[in-house]
């Protein structure tokens, strides 16, 4: 927790009435955090959130610049100056209205978005002036503050729009699917979301851990969508319970947002040993199935020494989870160096503060086990960086004779995911790329008329906010399609793909 005393904010007034000079003197407010030692053993949320005074002060830092660069940096186009301005005026209801109008899941994005590369990355207050690095407005922190206020205080449902008479199926209730469902229901369409698991939320409930995104927050966001008229059918495995052509026949349009749910393993000897998990399995056991809860009936191996292979956000989630499950030693094993880590810097800092060790330039060659089939170690090569590869990063090459065995009893493989063929294999008319992802035009329209797609099943493993951006953009295209019946793109042979490329891992 920040120990600096919080200065008193100016009274809550429209930002324009506070001189810019005065606003420029306010420092960025720190997010209060649970103490690293205590939190490394607790699933309670790490970030504690702003109080009213701190939120007011942070909002008063906004310069209300005319170009609103921050909005351009936001994949879902949140009207940031509008909601931040309302916070500065002390009008939280107004702030919530602005926020909820453009973002179906603000409690989620306020917690898990990489704001530093998006809205806050564009904020002029973050610019370096006369050699002094600036501090952008804490947009993400304010978004979280307003979303949490709205969850507790904004229970009334907006009046239902005029029904359009059109029916849309959304496949998958992750960030892309929920966002699209919220947008489409606002436009009067009848929306049914099909979810394979027993609980809606997709990666928000099975992947992202409680200490980063409490499940209660996801439930609140889902409940709000249901109150607005979105219907959610759980235990519906599209590709098995229903096929895509069947859903298409029964709806005016379908949005496929099933994610990239097929784990990638290392393909090294020993991966069948007991104690080797995919990150998907490890995190699902703990998050969705509640293995960490006293009354959770699903078991998970709580290793004393856990090695997590990979350097992305999922790897950080897994390794921090391992600490909380009681691991004395939780180690990230990454084949490149610190500079190439794809995880958010904040996640890496949090992990290190919680006692996680990082082994850089280390690549597994096999999992070692005992006679009873339990993992006892991870045999690795030490690496050095060679020439740049296709991704532009220097390729790690093994140092001859550098084998080491890292002793461990649990190995979590977090090196990415691929397209899951369960749905696509039952839709022969759906055009896929060679890796099995769905091909779409810039509007997310696939090769099947009326079938749209977005999120990881189109772009490959990326982020929550990019998937939400797809959900928002593609739902606008679906709305246009439902309203006019007109379409361009793949169905007419024009292939451009979704506008933002996949994140590299």
């Amino acid at each position: 927790m920040s120990t600096e005393p919080t200065p008193s904010p100016a009274p809550a007034v429209p930002l324009g009435r506070i001189p810019t000079k005065l606003r420029l003197t306010i420092d960025r407010q720190a997010m209060p955090e649970r103490d690293a030692g205590a939190r490394s053993r607790s699933f309670d949320e790490v970030n504690l959130g702003f109080d009213a005074q701190v939120a007011l002060l942070e909002a008063q830092r906004c310069l209300l610049c005319k170009q609103a660069h921050c909005v351009k940096g936001c994949p879902v186009g949140v009207d940031i100056p509008a909601f931040v301005g309302k916070v500065a005026e002390g009008d939280l209801a107004g702030a919530a209205d602005h926020l909820l109008a453009c973002n179906a899941l603000p409690g989620v994005t306020g917690r898990v978005c990489p704001q530093e590369t998006q809205c806050e990355g564009q904020c002029p207050r973050g610019a370096t002036l006369r050699g002094v690095a600036g501090q952008p407005v804490g947009i993400g922190y304010l978004e979280r503050y307003v979303a949490d206020w709205a969850a507790g205080n904004r229970t009334e449902v907006p009046p239902p729009p005029t029904p359009s008479g059109r029916r849309v199926a959304v496949v998958g209730s992750g960030p892309a699917g929920l966002t699209a469902a919220g947008e489409l229901v606002k436009r009067g369409h009848e929306v049914t979301v099909f979810e394979a698991f027993h609980e809606p939320g997709g990666v928000l409930v099975y992947g992202i851990p409680e200490f980063r995104l409490p499940k209660q927050i996801v439930r609140q966001e889902v409940d709000r969508l249901v109150a607005q008229g979105v219907r959610i059918e759980c235990n519906a495995v599209v590709g098995r319970t229903y096929t895509l052509p069947e859903l298409r026949a029964e709806h005016d349009a379908v949005f496929v947002a099933v994610g990239a749910g097929l784990p990638v393993f290392m393909d090294v000897p020993g991966e069948h040993l007991k104690g080797v998990y995919s990150a998907n399995e490890y995190l699902t056991r703990v998050n969705l199935m509640g293995a960490w809860l006293p009354d959770g009936e699903t078991p998970v191996l709580t290793g004393r020494r856990v090695a997590v292979v990979g350097g992305g956000n999922v790897a950080m989630d897994a390794v921090r989870t391992a600490r909380r499950l009681g691991a004395e030693e939780a180690v990230i094993v990454y084949r490149r160096s610190r500079e190439e880590l794809p995880a958010r810097l904040e996640e890496v800092h949090h992990a290190e503060a919680e006692g996680v060790r990082l082994e850089f330039l280390t690549a597994p060659v096999q999992v070692v086990g005992d006679a009873d089939g339990w993992v006892t170690g991870l045999e690795c090569h030490r690496m050095e960086l060679g020439e740049p590869d296709a991704s532009g990063r220097r390729r790690p090459v093994p140092v001859p004779g550098s084998q080491v065995v890292l002793p461990c009893d649990t190995v979590v493989v977090a090196i990415g995911t691929r397209a899951n063929p369960l749905l696509t294999s039952t839709a022969p008319d759906l055009r896929l790329d060679r890796r099995g992802y769905i091909e779409t035009d810039a509007d997310g329209h696939s090769s099947m008329p009326g079938v749209f797609a977005g999120g990881d099943i189109v772009r490959g493993a990326a982020t929550v906010i990019l998937a939400m951006g797809d959900g928002k953009r593609v739902s606008a295209a679906i709305d246009a399609y439902l309203t006019t019946g007109l379409t361009t793109g793949l169905t007419t042979g024009l292939t451009t793909g979704l506008t933002t490329g996949p994140a590299t891992a």
Binding site: R167, V237, D252, E297, G373
Partner: protein, 296 residues
């Protein structure tokens, strides 16, 4: 451009489906000392399921997801039949459901349907509760005109299940360890006799891992294609977690989406048997806690 004519209006579409089927237990019967049959309302699954497929059920909040083969369906009644062997806490909880109770979650049908022999003679081998997995296969084979011989086994007479049902689709050889019903000994010996007694085109064998392994070893020298159904530990059943991975011909496959049925001669049964022990200590502890609660 696609014209407005392509856009189908809702009025022309079928009525919306029922949102969430309530999976009510409609009937229940004890088949052996630890095997129970549950008939559960699940109209959509009953309608689209094919032999060999399974469901994943979660009894209620906090409960585990457990995979169970769909033993039978009644499309008109909208029900599926599940046969549950009570071994751990979750399965004990499940078989304690009464008629009229609901199972919170039933997802499926999952997995590939059985690759059914099209003509000839098939031998269906069932060990213990595995007989409940064999029954829908035998039924479908017989319906397709394939000659079916069933070889089923149990510790003693009271542990043999579905004998009458299987007898309705072909010959049945019953084996018990103590000879209290049918011939004394393991199903493998009976399988060997049937295979040597006349042409057999395919064997389907489902039961405990050692039984499936032994059946595969009986048929390997005779070069009879042998299908086994693998019950590895599953979570989602959609290929998402990889926990059910099994070793087939040296490669890794997922029982939930690539199976559950595989070529018995290609399966690494050691890996399967070993991975099935992963949570043994947890299962033991959960069962002991459950007993303690019951006694309290």
């Amino acid at each position: 451009m696609i014209g407005p004519g392509d856009l189908r209006l809702c009025q022309t579409l079928p009525a919306p489906r029922r949102l969430a089927d309530v999976n009510t237990v409609r009937d229940k019967a004890r088949l052996s000392p630890n095997v129970t049959r549950l008939v559960v309302e699940a109209p959509r699954i009953a309608q689209v399921r094919r032999p060999g497929q399974f469901v994943i059920v979660r009894r209620g909040p906090g409960a585990e997801r457990i995979p169970l083969t769909i033993t039978d369906v009644d499309v008109a009644a909208g029900t599926i039949t599940l046969v549950v062997q009570a071994v751990g806490k979750s399965t004990h909880d499940l078989v304690e459901l009464a008629v009229g109770d609901a199972i919170t979650d039933v997802a499926g049908p999952l997995g590939h349907p059985t690759d059914l022999l099209e003509a000839g003679h098939a031998v269906c081998v069932g060990g213990g509760v595995g007989t409940a997995v064999i029954w829908p296969i035998a039924q479908a084979l017989a319906a397709a005109g394939v000659r079916v011989t069933s070889v089923i086994g149990g510790r003693s007479a009271e542990w043999v299940i579905l004998e009458r049902e299987l007898a309705s689709v072909g010959d049945v050889v019953v084996c018990t360890d103590d000879g209290s019903r049918g011939r004394q000994g393991f199903v493998t010996a009976a399988l060997d006799d049937v295979c040597r007694g006349g042409p057999v085109d395919r064997v389907y064998a489902v039961g405990p891992v050692p039984m499936m392994r032994a059946c595969a070893e009986v048929t390997r020298p005779l070069a009879i294609p042998t299908v086994v159904s693998l019950n590895s530990i599953m979570l989602d059943g959609t290929g998402m977690c990889g926990g059910c991975r099994v070793s087939i011909d040296g490669g890794s496959r997922y029982a939930c989406v690539d199976g559950p049925e595989f070529d018995g001669h290609a399966v690494d049964f050691d890996v399967l048997a070993d991975r099935l022990t992963t949570y043994r200590s947890f299962e033991q502890a959960a069962l002991e806690r459950r007993l303690a609660t019951l006694e309290a």
